[in-house]
Symmetry: D2
Subunit: 370 residues, 4 copies
Amino acid sequence: MSSTPTIRRIALSTGGGDAPGLNAVIRAATIAARARGWDVVGIRDGFNGLMFPERYIDGGLIRLDRTTVRGITHTGGTIIGTTNRGNPMRFPVPQADGSYRDEDRTDELIARFRMHDIDALVTIGGDGSLTLADHLHRKGLWVVGVPKTIDNDLDKTEATFGFDTAVAFATECIDRLNSTAASHGRIMVVEVMGRYAGWIALNAGVASAADVVLIPEIPYDINKVAQKIRERQSAGRLFSIVVVAEGAKPVDGNVTVRGKSVGQAERLGGIGEKVAHELEEITGKETRVVVLGHLLRGGSPTAFDRLVGLRFGAAAIRALEEGQRGVMVSLTPPTVSYVPLEAACSRMKTVPIDSDTMLTARDMGMSFGD
Amino acid sequence: MSSTPTIRRIALSTGGGDAPGLNAVIRAATIAARARGWDVVGIRDGFNGLMFPERYIDGGLIRLDRTTVRGITHTGGTIIGTTNRGNPMRFPVPQADGSYRDEDRTDELIARFRMHDIDALVTIGGDGSLTLADHLHRKGLWVVGVPKTIDNDLDKTEATFGFDTAVAFATECIDRLNSTAASHGRIMVVEVMGRYAGWIALNAGVASAADVVLIPEIPYDINKVAQKIRERQSAGRLFSIVVVAEGAKPVDGNVTVRGKSVGQAERLGGIGEKVAHELEEITGKETRVVVLGHLLRGGSPTAFDRLVGLRFGAAAIRALEEGQRGVMVSLTPPTVSYVPLEAACSRMKTVPIDSDTMLTARDMGMSFGD
Amino acid sequence: MSSTPTIRRIALSTGGGDAPGLNAVIRAATIAARARGWDVVGIRDGFNGLMFPERYIDGGLIRLDRTTVRGITHTGGTIIGTTNRGNPMRFPVPQADGSYRDEDRTDELIARFRMHDIDALVTIGGDGSLTLADHLHRKGLWVVGVPKTIDNDLDKTEATFGFDTAVAFATECIDRLNSTAASHGRIMVVEVMGRYAGWIALNAGVASAADVVLIPEIPYDINKVAQKIRERQSAGRLFSIVVVAEGAKPVDGNVTVRGKSVGQAERLGGIGEKVAHELEEITGKETRVVVLGHLLRGGSPTAFDRLVGLRFGAAAIRALEEGQRGVMVSLTPPTVSYVPLEAACSRMKTVPIDSDTMLTARDMGMSFGD
Amino acid sequence: MSSTPTIRRIALSTGGGDAPGLNAVIRAATIAARARGWDVVGIRDGFNGLMFPERYIDGGLIRLDRTTVRGITHTGGTIIGTTNRGNPMRFPVPQADGSYRDEDRTDELIARFRMHDIDALVTIGGDGSLTLADHLHRKGLWVVGVPKTIDNDLDKTEATFGFDTAVAFATECIDRLNSTAASHGRIMVVEVMGRYAGWIALNAGVASAADVVLIPEIPYDINKVAQKIRERQSAGRLFSIVVVAEGAKPVDGNVTVRGKSVGQAERLGGIGEKVAHELEEITGKETRVVVLGHLLRGGSPTAFDRLVGLRFGAAAIRALEEGQRGVMVSLTPPTVSYVPLEAACSRMKTVPIDSDTMLTARDMGMSFGD
């Protein structure tokens, strides 16, 4: 550790969709860094603040100190902004013929870190951001990553911030829909986030005692879903709650909504609307759809997510202090540890179909449409 | 009052969409009636339980007592069920030629009350249910009405249960969307209930400091909405929140979504999607839509709505005890009073465009698109 | 109105205990005033910022503008601070003999308003603050008052901000205690605010279906309370919830706790502990006390309270613009109006013992210990 | 496993203080057991329903089926009741001389299981209940345990239900107190549960950015706490939040409140009041105490706790099906596993003073009074 270079200034960045708890990470990292005498700057909107300073009145970098991060632990969003666009590894550059070609602008990005005397980067993001972080690390930038995924689909960490808040709010929403569905004897279809993994749908579905849960991991047969609803009807249960992850897929593999292909289907309300439409046709029961979407991203983080965010932020600074490079902070209960960035991005964490939560759901009589 | 007939049994019914607080009315009316020694039955699903007993295992009537209504004050929905269909004043009867003709089946309904020895009816519902209640009253049934509208558009009562819960949850949802909109520099369009009156949109919009609120009372010009968003942009506020009541209308009067007419538009996500699509085109800013819809109907009522529900339920029973007929319970702060049912249904309560809440909103810089 | 002097600068102050919604008033008043081109300053900690500028690094006055008040609508507390101490009408001044004598320092206070070129004052406070406001008005200061009382005991306004939040949170807490009381078959005594009026206890008690509610307006007989608990026990209801306003009094008039006088009793947990102790002795049942106290003051205001706060803040500025002096903003549903400050402070609003809420409570079987 | 006896009937019991999530365990265990064709009975109030059937109208055993457990996942408390009294291992039996002697009545208890043809027991409880469960197991009863501790102090399970709800609500309460403390420039002392372990105080304290956290694991020096408050004051932070676990202890080891010994101190409000009183004396600042106590036990469980409860309930039934005996269900993320009951009760899980959460807290500048 004698060779660890002295740190004088670090940068923080957040990439991809926002998740409740981001500000907790920023606050803890900022305060812990300044307690060590380091300067901290926040890069606005992913790396845009560094790449395109001319777009920002403040030059794209925000000075972070104890005052700047006061009272933000319980707030949603990220005070330094984020973006889903402009990955410096695949930057769209206009060509002579009017077309665009993706170029790797990471050398330029690293040069700008040097230009601003930034010794190290703590970057908070999902799969894409962490892959980029590993790329920057291999090119020589001192990087520590913090995992962020509202869908809980990142491997190598038991959990991260945002997911608990999303499950909690989805559960509350399904509770609300339950009473109105019951009063009207309706089918209520609730679409939640989860493009590649069904964690939110499964956990919120089980916690709210939903009747059907459709997840990407288990292709569903709409007739089996309808069958479950009919069985409930026969038992005098006139309403049903169907929770659908946005990435759920029918067994036949074609996602169409009202005869249109998948791209249009998404514009028309996505898989939730498709499922609702088909169930109404098959069962003849009044059916309604609610798409929770962005409601699950925003909002004040739960105490659990605040705590994970704060622990991750402080752990990232300790990692830098210890001279660790190219690692990601990871929750390995009961403690926080570190894993190489390359390992973190190697595969996606999906719902094991024989997990004890799945066994619980099946024991409760929940249908997965299979 | 000496001529007031003795009551031995009363019925409760709930009609139209459910609203948080219905169960509080049912609980209070049941306990207050039984405290007077009266029997209480709940009619299932509007009047269906009485008209179509053969559809129900329990015969369509539920005996209500202290045990049945235990612990329901804070629950959403209605324990006796409700429906938007089957108004006995306009009952669709199949004709010889295969078509349907609406017939008035209220005589039959009244006969069934007599058949079950039901001396009086407490009916909880909106405009349609109260008009029916007045009709039944004129035909000789002893009726007391309790106003129910989640949209707050019933005249002759300062407020009723359900609206406060809807505004509270809409406000919470807009708060959540605010942080994610700010983090991404997006426009977020939030569609809330309010077909004919903009109360929910206005109150939740003001309470959550939204930037634009579009309500049925004020036809909007989408270019003026876009102008407001551009002004914010110029002032460094890169995101905007636009709250849209489902009944909002553009000044030119045509509601089309992606070139389709209004009927289709509703199927495609309604006015919220239209506004979002147009704003994205005009401003070039990333825009997202969230439709709160049924989320605002369900859920545990706020303490305010529980209290209004309980007060209304008990007041309805006192009205019967006093021999009042053909009246609706009404909130006239600080007390509850009674108005004739016919007066209650005569006109709809819309947002006065010069109310102090509107003046407040304008002073805060909120745009109504006018 | 031709004689209305031009306003260039106004001050805001908040006095007494904080209440959820104060920041909404501050935000609306600030934005509405600046929309008229007026400067706005906030006086720190009641009038201390003006009287004792030397105590403050910033000189005791905070410049308020659109940026300062951003994002505060939904926050608890008051960004300019408040205090229960240092009323300038009864200022304790040390005398030659070492004793203190209360002096009226309001002339000095008014002189300081002039010194800072403050043309008018919007003061937000309870009974004490509004009496002071009237005093300042009579001495020539241009004053508009905004009523604040978490206990809902101010006359001449149907409601004010803070009370709805307090009732909502008290109701939530009683709901929580209900499940644990039921599981253990215990008596749970919950003490809530309400020194002179029982509004919070009554409304939260009815909304949460409490069994007993003790309020200052109705002296209670502990044996009748115990009797109610025994009756429940006989009916198989092994637990009971007793809500006690802090100002509740036994019929015999002496409030003692464990043989100590009332002053000590307050230190020892107050009336809640006394009631719990006596009930445990009389009934032999396990009894627990929870004192909600300050929990009811803090926290994010409900949508209702945010809206009332914003409407009051904007209405206060309109009053100044119209040249009104010595008035208090008042909620007279559905609108906001103005009443003379002197009328506002003339009497306290207590619970009418024959109000429809009281009749509802009695019909539900609730005991008031009388 | 061929020797596993056939199960026809099982019993469920809950012991000790209630915790949010108990009903989720009961629901999952009931439905999973009935799905296997087993009868399920709930024993009322720990083992009292079995030991003292004469005390209960229903004979002390409740038949549990799908209908009985409908809609209870999100409710607080336990539908079969619980108790802190009457451990059959140390049953107080009156002696000839009028004194009481503790006797082991477990043989009688086991005989009663046989009498009611109960083949196996799923018992949900804390340290005491699990020790008893192990004792019953050793005497031949077929037992599976489910860990319950709101304080999170049970070893051999990463977490259990109830704790997350308690931390979430404590965090919300501290948030509320934060705004009122700031407005008045006060010290606010918040006492939370945690007799032997400081998990709730630590986690809620960190999540809510408290200034001082006092836990049983770290004896505190009140002068160091006061010092922290003075440092904040010097930095212009006029208020402080002090979170105190009920089991916190001063370095000198004597817990006295106002000159009384510890037993009396508990009656007088406990350690929270002591700390508040001393801080007010030392710092001269206005100080208030709030004791959260029973508020943390009740209430609807968080989605996390519902899920853990359901998973535990189903896992207990799977354990029985697999023929496991004398084991406790344990959360070992990401799965549920089983540990011998004797191992589970061998030691208490306290906060490791060098855990990453502690490091985070110290990095944030939090004081532990050491």
